[in-house]
């Protein structure tokens, strides 16, 4: 199972955002997308999910051209975790997660006992079983993000695309979400996520893709591609990448060099 973009051109109708983007994501792997504001991360995600038409090149999902797949067929292969948001009606967390089962339901069907079971299972895996009957609109942003990831799990797709899953979360919740993401990949799920914090890539990513000026600046293993020079070019500020001792081993961190740059 693989999600691959080949020489992909994407954007909105009448407005090209990015060109010649090539990468692939395997099941069980975490690919972290870095890029400054406005670099087109969300637009790229929308295109990968089939929500925007491919403008050039192709997207191959599980060996098939994305353009040949039906809406629910795509949803069974790749799920989407949007940024934690409000909702318009006070569904319970259980109901929100159940919506992830939609792609497995017939057009006129309502969720069966099996679907309820899958939803509860996903809720447990995200560690929010105590929130199952809480009202989604009344829980915290971090809890909502976990609920949305649970919804993606209930969808039982082998690939998950997450749009800035750590945005708007406090420090502790960011760490918790990153830990869950690692756990998902250990379960064989491929995760594509975007983030604004390079350190998150060091923590959870198998590979990193850097999106800059509508193209891929680099794509590869974090230790190799995330150099100070590359990050400077990506964000336009001076940074240092250094190793800190952590338990038995070391971990790389990225620090800004200050305002004088």
């Amino acid at each position: 199972m693989k999600l691959a973009a080949q020489k992909l051109a994407y954007g909105y109708p009448g407005r090209r955002i990015g060109n010649d983007v090539t990468f692939e994501l395997n099941a069980g792997e975490v690919l972290c997308l870095l890029g400054p504001n406005g670099s087109g991360k969300t637009t790229l995600f929308r295109t990968l999910l089939g929500l925007l038409p491919v403008q050039g090149g192709e997207i191959i999902l599980d060996g098939k051209d994305l353009r040949t797949l039906q809406r629910d067929g795509i949803a069974r292969l790749v799920s989407y975790v949007p940024q934690a948001h409000g909702a318009f009606f006070p569904y319970t967390v259980r109901e929100v997660v159940l919506m992830g089962r939609t792609a497995h339901l017939g057009l006129f069907a309502a969720p069966s006992a099996r679907d309820y079971g899958a939803a509860l299972d996903a809720i447990r895996r995200m560690g929010i079983a105590h929130l199952a009957d809480s009202i989604y609109t009344r829980i915290s942003g971090g809890e909502r993000q976990l609920a949305l990831i649970a919804r993606a799990l209930a969808q039982e797709a082998r690939m998950v695309v997450m749009d800035e899953p750590t945005a708007n979360l406090d420090f502790g919740n960011q760490v918790r979400v990153l830990e869950r993401i690692r756990a998902l990949s250990a379960d064989g799920i491929g995760v594509l996520l975007s983030t604004h914090d390079p350190d998150h890539a060091f923590v959870c990513a198998d590979r990193v893709a850097m999106l800059h000026n509508g193209g891929l600046l680099a794509c590869g293993v974090p230790d190799v591609v995330m150099t100070a020079a590359q990050l400077q070019q990506l964000y336009g500020v001076d940074v240092v990448v250094t190793e800190v001792a952590l338990g038995q081993g070391t971990r790389k961190v990225c620090l800004p060099l200050g305002m004088h740059a």
Binding site: R71, S79, P82, F89, P90, T92, M99, T102
Partner: protein, 337 residues
């Protein structure tokens, strides 16, 4: 959780049954409950009731069609309101606010104005309602860079004003002795003149509209999310949205064509039902249908018994609905965020 839902459904059904029994028994010719049951039993093919034939006429010819019409219209308006609210992600939309009622009214009045038959009036009401909701939707999509829900409601209000002007124009042009009273009376909403012929046209349309709402109940839940999110969950959002809008508009138009413009039910009843059941459409729809039917039967009974003359239904629902809605707005925010 599950038993709570069934209890709610049972309570709503029981309330509807009580209101219907009340509607048959009270009025200028009181019908004792025992007599009512005997008449219904004999009508259903049981033993002859042996009662005064006036009573039978009152029950079967006068009150019967009217109660059935109230049940159907109330159920239709509440179901359509619930569907619109989910679909447009806004608990404040309703058939009246989206301009559907006004559009259907313009179509139906044009039918009266041209002295057309029942089927033609129904079709024109449907075309008018569909045109109105279509225009509102197109305007809301075309105006970008604003809160889309606000634009939607504003577009409905503005279009409603335009359609109001069309209604005024037709009233001005109508024959003041025959057509004008009919139009005016009909615009205020009334079930007094429903006969069984109207019902045979409207009832199938109402059921045809209700069926997709029930079948698509889970998809309608998912459509209350962002369109993009709904599509990522595997729902062909555009197509299903269209089917649901057409179905809800068909129900509203058919209801408007029998009863005239009866506001507030489509706004208040789904809102109230949501407080009882939560937002899950598969629970919301049946409870909305039962409550809407019960509410309109009750209001219609009130309309014909509270004074010597019939009180227009649209006036009564507004007098009852406005304080109810304001009270909900002030006390509870549980129905929506």
């Amino acid at each position: 959780m599950k038993s709570r839902q069934s209890l709610m459904l049972l309570a709503a059904a029981a309330a509807l049954a009580v209101v219907i029994a009340l509607a048959f028994t009270v009025g200028r010719y009181p019908v004792p409950l025992a007599d009512l049951l005997r008449i219904l039993w004999s009508w259903a093919g049981g033993a002859p009731h042996g009662l005064d034939s006036t009573l039978e006429t009152v029950v079967l010819q006068i009150r019967g069609p009217r109660v059935i019409a109230a049940v159907l219209v109330g159920a239709a308006l509440a179901a359509a309101g619930a569907a619109y609210q989910n679909l447009f992600r806004n608990p404040l939309v309703s058939p009246d606010i989206l301009g559907v009622s006004a559009g259907a009214a313009v179509g139906a009045i044009l039918g009266i104005f041209l002295s057309l038959g029942v089927v033609a009036i129904q079709s024109m009401a449907f075309a008018g309602g569909l045109a109105a909701v279509g225009m509102v939707y197109v305007v809301a999509r075309a105006v970008r860079g604003h809160d889309p829900l606000l634009v939607l409601v504003l577009a409905g209000v503005v279009l409603g004003a335009l359609l109001g002007a069309c209604v005024a124009l037709m009233k001005y042009l109508a024959d003041p002795y025959n057509q004008l009273p009919a139009i005016t009376y009909w615009l205020l909403g009334s079930l007094a003149s429903t006969d069984s012929r109207d019902m045979w046209v409207a009832a199938p349309l109402l059921l045809v509209g209700l069926l997709p709402l029930w079948l698509l109940r889970w998809r309608i839940n998912v459509l209350s999310l962002d369109d993009e999110e709904a599509r990522a969950l595997g729902v062909s959002a555009g197509r299903i949205r269209l089917v649901v809008i057409v179905a809800a508009t068909l129900m509203t138009s058919a209801a408007v064509a029998i009863s005239g413009v009866i506001g507030w039910i489509g706004l208040v009843i789904p809102h109230f039902a949501r407080l009882l059941t939560g937002p899950d459409f598969s629970k919301l729809l049946p409870v909305s249908v039962l409550l809407g039917a019960g509410f309109l039967v009750a209001v219609d009974t009130l309309a014909r018994t509270m004074a010597n003359i019939e009180v227009p239904l649209g006036v009564l629902t507004a007098f009852v609905g406005t304080p109810l809605f304001l009270w909900q707005l002030a006390t509870a925010r549980r129905g929506w965020q």
